[in-house]
């Protein structure tokens, strides 16, 4: 199965979710900001990365995990990807997950300051606070996704 975690820029919440899914981050302990920065694509993407599906890895069940930055498309992106998979007859092979439902305002402001404004020194501390706050929500999202990928409803 192909699992695509998507968020605004494909740089923060989707990367954290994918890392949790692949076991690169512990679910029981909040990661340090250095741990997050060590992840591929985390707070490193540019405008050219919008709309690019980045490969992250394969989980223990053989599901391929990807991340995607979809700008302000919201849940429409999930619906469209599911619709495309449906017309290709491959709806059971795709799981598109919108991470924006678990993103808080600190992550939005920190991410915007860091990536869009280039104010990395100001944006990253705010982003770190926001990600720490949203961490358990992201763990929950990943658990639900893993359950669905195993065939759960």
């Amino acid at each position: 199965m192909i699992i695509i975690y998507h968020c605004y820029g494909g740089s923060h919440s989707s990367v954290i979710a994918a890392a949790l899914h692949l076991g690169w981050l512990s679910k029981t302990q909040k990661p340090s900001f250095e741990d997050m920065l060590a992840l591929p694509y985390f707070d490193k993407t540019t405008d050219d990365d919008f709309g690019t599906i980045h490969y992250m890895g394969v989980d223990e069940y053989g599901n391929e995990v990807y991340v995607l930055g979809k700008k302000s498309m919201g849940d429409r992106c999930t619906k469209i990807m599911n619709g495309i998979a449906h017309i290709m007859g491959k709806e059971k092979e795709l799981l598109a997950v919108n991470c924006m439902t678990r993103v808080n305002w600190m992550m939005k402001i920190g991410g915007f300051a860091s990536r869009r404004m280039g104010m990395v020194r100001m944006g990253r501390p705010v982003l770190n606070m926001g990600t720490q706050t949203a961490f358990t929500d992201l763990v929950n999202l990943v658990e639900i996704t893993r359950f669905k990928a195993m065939g759960g409803v």
């Binding site: 990807y66 498309m73 992106c77 619906k79 469209i80 619709g83 449906h86």
Partner: protein, 159 residues
């Protein structure tokens, strides 16, 4: 083969393009087109099935808002990830002047009389432009079909 006409909405100019492609629309008269201005169809996110041409090619439209070009690229990448050949699914962006205004009109509340009127005005004045886009897409489609396994390679090189 499946072709998806993608634009800011799937129920305006993309629908006109699909109808022209299928040979169902030859002039600037949109009165009998199914799904035209049907915002509920567009909001579902599912590609809207329009019909099949004589060669069995299925034609769809898809609305993706102001980031439709980005979405077209995402759909192509998704096609590759799902291991479908490029000759099975083609994504064709369709653009007209005022396309972003159509997304605004689509979201006006209730059964607005103004939205279809303005949309008709926008599209009607660009019917020839849409027709030219469709002609270009038809050439692309025949080239893609020719390059597919079992296709006629002479047709690919002619273009």
């Amino acid at each position: 083969m499946k072709i998806i006409f993608i634009g800011s909405t799937g129920i305006h100019h993309t629908l006109i393009a699909a109808q022209i492609y299928l040979g169902r629309l030859h002039k600037n008269d949109f009165r009998l087109i199914k799904h035209l201005f049907d915002a509920s169809k567009d909001r579902s996110g599912n590609p809207i099935y329009i019909g099949k041409d004589g060669a069995g090619t299925e034609v769809y439209t898809l609305g993706a808002g102001k980031h439709y070009k980005m979405m077209a690229s995402i759909v192509e990448q998704l096609r590759d990830l799902l291991k479908c050949p490029a000759s099975d699914l083609m994504v064709c962006p369709v653009s007209i002047w005022g396309e972003y205004l159509l997304t605004v009109l689509e979201n006006l509340p209730g059964e607005s009389y103004i939205s279809p009127l303005l949309a008709r005005f926008l599209m009607g004045g660009q019917f020839d432009r849409i027709h030219q886009e469709v002609d270009r897409i038809k050439v692309q489609v025949s080239q893609t079909k020719a390059r597919a396994p079992g296709g006629d390679l002479k047709q690919a090189t002619l273009h």
